[in-house]
Assembly symmetry: C2
Homo-oligomer: 269 residues x 2
């Protein structure tokens, strides 16, 4: 029970939503609504459960509501949503997916992807700038692709990419080379030698009993290790890094970095 | 700032909305969200601002969202919304308007109008049952029509209807006679003689300096007087009734009666 005198919602409340299927598990409504309230903004973020066959009608209706200012997009709609925006921002265009849309002042909708920007924000908050670094990235799925793109965009010198799916791995390397010719991107086996930053962008570490995402040699203490797995907070990979005296960043920092980046995109930070 | 440990909204929150144009002035989001929270229901009611040209797309989108369970409808859409429901409940069918829609368990949408039920609930909470009564109703607009219908449905013996617009007055009398042959409905001048219940369903009394809605004789103390104007709480008509020792009901009781009736319709009371 809230004892607040300000109502949770009133007629003038601005609406943000997160659309997906399923939706009950998402954290964004609680996180963003709390941040709106803390900053004195009269807005809520609500879950929007769109089944596949209704996704198009839901998007058309939501965009038509004059008090809906932004929409987050989660599984399975990050690709399908692209045709619903008027302006595809650069990272979303390069990656072919988006996870946040906003209404511009002229009424048009634009969209961008914030997985990579969130990782980058978390990394910088943890004291590391990727500019000029040699990076080993494990995982070339949706999150890995967005992270590789953001790191290349931020001036990483080289990114070695590993994925059990060689096709994904090669495709991502080629994409990065094409979009960021100054970044040396290539497929390669997991290693820590001559690497400044080691990143796990696979789900390994999430399940009880998980070990490291790959066989890796001894960690030098100048290696920085980042893991996108947010729960548990200390994955086996991060535990190993901490034992070795390395700097680390966990999945929660990426989540926080992404919230900040999206709030800025919404003009609220 | 809320100190509550339960978030305002999370991924599993069920969504209710109120659609209209304009929307910022509506009270339902605050009132219903507070009632959901008080009763431990994980739900919010949000404002939905649909401009005329977008109303159809908005309704299609909202009905398609699997976690939207109910929609209130306000000006100017109470008539237009009727074609969006699968099942039109009896009062809405008789009146040709609706102000609340719900998703049924089979996925169909049904709709009803609660202005009249709200008035009736308020009246009963104030200790008066209209069954068998002779009633003078001033105002044959949207609210007056819904009230006359609900009173006839509840067994009122006779309803005399006055409106400055004679056409509206005659049309409403005919509608009531047709739908409720046991209720004697007719157009007539405002009077309190041989009347058990006097109702103001006009806006007169809302503006500063307003007097009574019509010239009326002395009020006997057995007369019961109801006013749909909610602000001020004591209209000139109600002040006169109280001075005369009459029982009274104000607009706030109708608002409360309507919220209760809608919460029952939503299966939440």
């Amino acid at each position: 029970m809230s004892g607040a005198s300000v109502p949770v919602v009133d007629g003038a409340t601005r609406i943000y939503g997160i659309i997906g299927d399923p939706i009950a598990q998402v954290k964004s409504p609680a996180v963003f609504t709390e941040r709106f309230r803390t900053s004195g903004k009269n807005a809520v973020m609500i879950p929007l459960h769109a089944r596949r066959e209704n996704f198009e009608a839901c998007m058309r209706g939501l965009k038509s509501l004059a008090n809906v200012d932004g929409i987050l997009v989660t599984i399975p709609y990050k690709n399908m949503v692209m045709k619903h925006v008027d302006v595809v921002l650069p990272a979303a265009k390069r990656i072919g997916a988006m996870n946040a849309l906003r209404r511009e002042t002229d009424g048009k909708w634009s969209g961008d992807i914030f997985d990579g920007k969130g990782f980058l924000g978390g990394l910088r908050s943890s004291g590391l700038d990727p500019k000029g670094l040699s990076i080993m990235l494990m995982g070339a799925g949706g999150a890995g692709s967005a992270i590789a793109d953001a790191l290349a965009d931020a001036g990483a010198a080289a990114i070695t990419i590993f994925d059990r799916n060689e096709h994904k791995c090669d495709a991502l390397s080629r994409t990065i080379v094409q979009s960021h010719p100054n970044c040396r991107a290539s497929a390669g086996r997991p290693r820590v030698e001559a690497i400044d930053l080691l990143i796990n962008a696979t789900p390994v570490g999430m399940a009880p009993g998980d070990g490291l995402p790959a066989e890796l040699g001894l960690f030098g203490k100048n290696l920085f290790v980042a893991d996108i797995v947010a729960c548990p907070e200390i994955t086996p990979l991060l535990a190993r890094a901490k034992e070795s005296g390395c700097g680390t960043m966990g999945g929660q920092a990426m989540v926080a970095g992404q919230s900040d980046a999206i709030l800025r995109f919404f003009g609220l930070l």
